[in-house]
Symmetry: C2
Subunit: 237 residues, 2 copies
Amino acid sequence: MRKPPQSNVTHAIVEQLGHAVVARSFGTKDSFPIEAELCKQFGVSRTVLREAVKMLTAKGLLRARPRQGTWVQEENHWNLLDPDVLRWLMERKFSLQLLAEFTEIRLAIEPMAAMIAATKATPASIAQIRNGIHRMKMAEQGDDDPLESDIAFHVAILHATGNRFYSQLEDVVDAALRISIAFTNRYKGVALADIKAHTKVLDHIEAGQPKRAHAAMTAIIEEVMELIGQARKKSPQ
Amino acid sequence: MRKPPQSNVTHAIVEQLGHAVVARSFGTKDSFPIEAELCKQFGVSRTVLREAVKMLTAKGLLRARPRQGTWVQEENHWNLLDPDVLRWLMERKFSLQLLAEFTEIRLAIEPMAAMIAATKATPASIAQIRNGIHRMKMAEQGDDDPLESDIAFHVAILHATGNRFYSQLEDVVDAALRISIAFTNRYKGVALADIKAHTKVLDHIEAGQPKRAHAAMTAIIEEVMELIGQARKKSPQ
DNA sequence: GCCGCGTAATTAATCATACAAATACAAACG
DNA sequence: CGTTTGTATTTGTATGATTAATTACGCGGC
């Protein structure tokens, strides 16, 4: 994604440990290595390791207590909506199941976002949405990236709500779209039909038609849901 | 909420610093104290302070770089959906604005959750929902807590989706409901009408009627939205 | 005066070590 | 047999020293 690289040692450890945790590389609860063990394993000082563990604790992945040691939290404690956790999950543990759950959330958020945008969007935020569509058109002719332009469109709508919590879900949408591409090239390339469907959403938002904007966005995402459903039938995991 | 107290010094600092950050107690960007300064201020060692800062960094509230120092991130970097951040915001910086934004998110999530639950709910998860309603009835007669029982109902529906991301939004709903109570006693006590409306949702879920479940839940939350709207007219912030 | 370049100063990052606190477990005691 | 007390283990906290990254500054060249 678009994060500054952060070339700290600590950060590197956080990444590795984070990946390992979501990938379930640590067997049973008590098989998680003790501090000293991990230090040796990664070749870093206790300070660095502890700070890394603290960061993962802050994201709900780990828990530590004196004398009991450190262990991986139950999955329902993970902050799934944390951008890092999201990314780790998607990089390490892709599954159609996960993608389906992602999309199910989008189905709640994005249509409602479009609906809200239809009543609250400013000229500036509408311009952002339009820019996304413009990029999709460019991408169709090979002059822009199809994935990035698609993301730009969807994210612009989240921001157009003027609601911080919707904006915050940018990363979920981002991850969901990237994951979509990862599993099937069917999504690759920008079809004219896609552009048409996306333009419809913009039109309704601009016209101040909440319900129609909602419906148009729902159509887009249900299309994705459909694709996933088909894929799962072929190779049910 | 229902978290183990965590009586560490580090955790205490995280709480204090977290509160201070969301309350905007640190003026301009460069007025954030340097490490040593904060250590003296809180009377803790650098170890503790650094680990606390790391945890807040993990939640997107702070950022630190050598020679530039530590500073508060722009608000759009905050992980608003992190349970801690959410709680700090709500404890320190209550506003009708914030509550409205909360509720706007609920308006997307919960009706869709009810919809999904109507097709996917298991006997066990339906029992959970029913238990929530049961508690509301008890609360009406003073035999249970009205707020907690209400929360139990809404959270049960999120879980009934079988979707981890919906489950994860438990804290948002939790916070929203608590905040609701905080600003008006209007919400206090359980009205018979409320119980009726909530029961309707359960009935539709049990009957496997997605659209009706969706509508019933929407009605409940729009009622809340209405209340907020009225309050904002009286004292527009 | 202006531009590039190395150098110094500042701040967080890392390391190493020591000691404190919490708690599970077992042994001792009633 | 239950209770208490001790002890070992693991994380928590403290401190000092060192390293690395980044910016600001001054120096020299033009």
